[in-house]
């Protein structure tokens, strides 16, 4: 029985530590650290693709989970609440309040012409608070110079990709009320009908 030659297949052992061997084709790092594991040569294409299938399936499951979560969750629309007397918010100014919870900063804007708009004050980029700019009549995020349309909440410029969350407001006997949180773009309930006229 021969123990050399091209047909010789030596017995394998499970010990991961090996005596250093040098192959001229090896990269320098392997020559410097010539430790080989018994199983490192044993990955077949099929085994490799099995990892691929598992990873890809995991991503797909995650994506389906996100879609399900997106469909099944409910936006906290909040309860109708008084914000401020209309007389205290002249045209071209803004008033800060919290809605639907005390942890959700919001801003009420009295646009020139009498229209009232209310938005979540959280920038949709990284969550900084946005402010109303009376000069340009837009909402500005000072962190990264994001600008939103003060009438619709849509992005005008800057890094934000999504519109501001809108809050439905109306005037009842001279007092501005927040009626419902509509979510980003006003898609929560009545899109495009979230404002009020003073």
């Amino acid at each position: 029985m021969t123990t050399t030659g091209p047909g010789y297949d030596p017995p394998r052992r499970q010990d991961a530590r090996q005596v250093p061997t040098f192959d001229p084709q090896d990269p320098v790092w392997r020559q410097d650290f010539p430790i080989t594991a018994a199983g490192e040569d044993e990955v077949t294409r099929r085994e490799f693709v099995r990892f691929l299938v598992v990873a890809s399936g995991g991503f797909a499951a995650g994506n389906v989970g996100v879609a399900l979560w997106s469909s099944l969750r409910s936006i906290n629309e909040g309860e109708p609440r008084e914000i401020v007397a209309l007389a205290d918010v002249p045209e071209g100014t803004a008033h800060l309040f919290s809605y639907p919870t005390d942890a959700d900063p919001a801003i009420l804007v009295h646009l020139p012409g009498g229209e009232l708009r209310a938005f979540s004050q959280k920038c949709t980029h990284l969550g900084c608070v946005v402010y109303y700019q009376p000069g340009t009549h837009d909402m500005e995020c000072p962190c990264h110079e994001g600008h939103f349309d003060a009438e619709s909440g849509d992005v005008i410029s800057g890094p934000p990709q999504r519109p501001l969350g809108r809050i439905d407001v109306e005037v009842r006997e001279g007092v501005v009320w927040a009626i419902a949180n509509l979510g980003e773009g006003g898609s929560g309930r009545r899109r495009g009908d979230a404002g009020a006229t003073s």
């Binding site: 250093p20 099929r46 693709v49 299938v53 797909a60 994506n63 997106s70 936006i75 949709t124």
Partner: protein, 76 residues
């Protein structure tokens, strides 16, 4: 106690037989990168309350996973 034969180094396989084919590696990089991109799009759609986009993204992701499973069956 170890025998001298047990500590003998294993002969390395030829390099061509050790490496995973480049084409398979490229397939993995492209496919998993695309899956990661789709997950990012799905999360963005989630944050933007765009359920339709989230479902379209999920459908593409499942399609890709099914494609990789088909590739796995092909490599018998």
């Amino acid at each position: 106690m170890r025998t001298p034969a047990a500590s003998r180094p294993l002969p390395r396989r030829p390099r061509a037989n050790r490496n995973v084919p480049v084409a398979v590696g490229a397939f993995v990089v492209v496919l998993l990168s695309l899956q990661m991109f789709l997950l990012t799009v799905g999360l963005d759609a989630f944050l933007a309350d765009q359920d339709g986009l989230a479902w379209i993204t999920a459908a593409f992701s499942v399609l890709l996973a099914a494609g990789s499973a088909a590739f796995y069956r092909y490599l018998r």
